[in-house]
């Protein structure tokens, strides 16, 4: 199988752009409906390739109360049209984040969603307390990471545990709080209701699906952590199905659709499924400028869909 150079006009993705179609998520205005997905954006890497202030929002890597070293390598394996990662939330901790990446992002003028990680309710509370009077525009509570043994997904798969945590965090901050949900559940609607009833201002979904790959020469898992989270184009229909079901069940909650988005067309599918905005993850790993390109393609596609564009601009979904 060989590639051919495409005859179409290349889309310029870096030059400044007048955004025609914005969205509103939990009262926060985005200049376009496309953000970066947590764990696939770092300012000192991605900022070399495009102007990060041009994104609808920048969602940062999960931030924990103290530095986390993550899981041992290898941390990534390929899967058909997808990838499995077991990074395990390696990050330099909330104090470093507040002193370094956040001020840099805000100085540039980016709209920032800070992704909050924890091993326990205490961890989430500690990070949220420190972010409560920071410059972060929105918080995304990650209760859906499959790569940590405590916290993460174990919180986001049990309605009572989730409700207790979100209720506690709600009292600590007025910042718009997005709860990021896991697809590794039997009934997403129950979980979504638990988050919303406990005070979530918005939901984002999906995080990665639990999966693994095995090296048949050794008979052992490719990743040191054995299992990880699957994402990329292969999970597109799963993400769409989850967003659609939550939208059917909860008509008014703002939803950020995530999973397998690598083009404006796929972002548009999420908007028609009921999302108010989207985040681009794995695609950014295979091309640093992918989030920007998705945003530009979507801006063009919305030109011919004035009804959808108008709803988004009013903070409504399709």
């Amino acid at each position: 199988m060989t590639a051919t150079v495409r005859p179409s006009e290349p889309m310029n993705v870096i030059e400044p752009h007048e955004w025609r179609h914005g969205t509103v998520v939990a009262g926060v205005k985005w200049k376009n409906p496309v953000g970066t997905a947590s764990g696939t954006f770092q300012l000192d890497a991605c900022g070399d390739y495009y102007d990060v202030t041009q994104m609808g929002a920048i969602c940062t890597k999960g931030v924990s109360p103290v530095p986390w070293e993550g899981n041992p390598g290898p941390r990534i394996a390929e899967s058909p049209a997808g990838m499995v990662n077991s990074v395990g939330l390696q990050n330099p901790g909330v104090d470093h984040y507040l002193a370094d990446e956040l001020p840099k992002l805000k100085e540039l003028g980016a709209l920032v969603i800070t992704n909050v990680a924890g091993h326990s309710d205490e961890d989430y509370a500690e990070v949220t307390a420190k972010l409560a009077d920071s410059d972060a525009d929105m918080l995304e509570i990650n209760v859906s990471c499959p790569n940590v043994s405590h916290g993460g997904m174990s919180v986001g798969t049990d309605p009572a545990t989730l409700s207790r945590l979100i209720g506690r965090l709600r009292k600590m901050t007025d910042k718009p709080m997005i709860v990021k949900l896991s697809p590794n559940v039997t009934d997403i609607v129950t979980i979504a209701h638990a988050a919303v009833d406990a005070g979530a201002d918005a939901l984002s979904l999906i995080n990665t699906l639990v999966g693994m790959r095995i090296d048949i020469d050794t008979g052992k898992p490719i990743m040191a952590n054995r299992t990880g989270g699957v994402s990329g184009p292969a999970v597109l229909p799963i993400g769409l199905g989850f967003v659609w079901r939550v939208r059917q069940a909860i008509p008014d909650i703002p939803i950020i659709g995530i999973g397998g988005i690598d083009s404006g067309e796929k972002a548009l599918e999420y908007l028609y499924a009921g999302a108010n905005a989207v985040e681009v993850g794995a695609a950014a790993l295979t091309d640093p400028t992918a989030p920007m390109r998705v945003a530009r393609e979507l801006d063009d596609l919305l030109d011919s869909r004035p009804d959808l564009a108008a709803k988004l601009a009013q903070g409504k979904s399709w």
Binding site: M1, T2, A3, D48, I76, G232, S263
Partner: protein, 280 residues
């Protein structure tokens, strides 16, 4: 339904032009293949036209290639082996599905590319640079020979270890002052290094102390690091790791060091043996 498209849409020149106009690095782009062939049994050469890589690639930096088969999503990193005008030479072996597909590419075809990426070798000092490559770790050190060949304050020594065919000796001959190589049957690169100690000592006495630049299988590089420790030589190692992005965004490619887990793609691929804690 939407059209399936995982490949970049833009040609190299357009992407590079736009990026440079706005002071950014160019993203993924489509390059033309100038030449594709076989250097030895199981060793392939791929020459791509990418003026940006050609202008900017420094020794030990790599480029990501992406298979045209959209089900293979992750980058395939390869060290830049040689640069001629706007042509960039990569040398690789078949390791799995992606590299197997690359062997089907021919002149005139296209391939998606990102780069150059990573932190290069530090070649600031006046020294005797000893390039120690093992197997397909040879291509990533080859560019150092080419880059150093234009300087008159350095000596370039090679110590290449081949499985059998000496596929790179001729390619670097014009850049190297003191070429040495060995095949598996004859011994390993440590044997080879031991055998040239008198030569290295003479160069050191003449004001060119050895600095080892190495790439190859991890056990080999650990042995090279220890050899450097025993002989008081500075050692820089170019590592490999499975990568998610290759440019620093995902933290998939870590190596454990005494300072914690570092990214091979952005903090490296070059690390000193001290940084890795590989010298005793």
């Amino acid at each position: 339904m939407t059209e399936e498209r995982f490949m970049s849409t833009a040609t190299s020149a357009a992407v590079v032009q736009e990026a440079e106009r706005f002071g950014r690095k160019p993203g993924r782009r489509v390059d033309e293949i100038v030449r594709a062939g076989t250097l030895a049994e199981g060793v392939y050469e791929l020459v791509i036209r990418d003026a940006y890589v050609a202008r900017n690639a420094k020794p030990a930096q790599f480029v990501n290639l992406y298979p045209a088969d959209a089900s293979l999503l992750l980058p395939r990193p390869f060290g830049v082996a040689e640069v001629t005008g706007d042509e960039v030479t990569l040398i690789y072996q078949v390791a799995g599905a992606g590299t197997r597909q690359f062997t089907q590419l021919a002149a005139g075809d296209a391939v998606d590319v990102l780069g150059p990426l990573g932190k290069p070798f530090d070649l600031d000092k006046s020294a005797n640079y000893v390039l120690v490559g093992g197997g397909l770790g040879i291509p990533p050190v080859m560019l150092a020979a080419q880059a150093l060949s234009v300087r008159d304050d350095v000596t370039v020594t090679t110590a290449f270890g081949y499985r059998n065919e000496r596929f790179a000796d001729d390619l670097v001959a014009q850049y190297v002052d003191a070429p040495h190589s060995i095949t598996n049957e004859e011994g390993n690169v440590i044997d080879l290094l031991d055998s040239i100690v008198p030569e290295l000592e003479a160069a050191a006495k003449a004001g060119r102390p050895p600095i080892v630049l190495s790439c190859g299988p991890t056990p080999m590089m650990k042995a090279v690091a220890q050899w450097g420790g025993r002989h008081g030589a500075e050692v820089q190692l170019s590592l490999e790791a499975r990568m998610g992005c290759g440019y620093g965004a995902c933290v998939a490619c870590v190596v454990d060091t005494p300072q914690g887990r570092l990214k091979v793609c952005k903090d490296g691929p070059v690390f000193t043996s001290e940084q890795l804690g590989w010298v005793v």
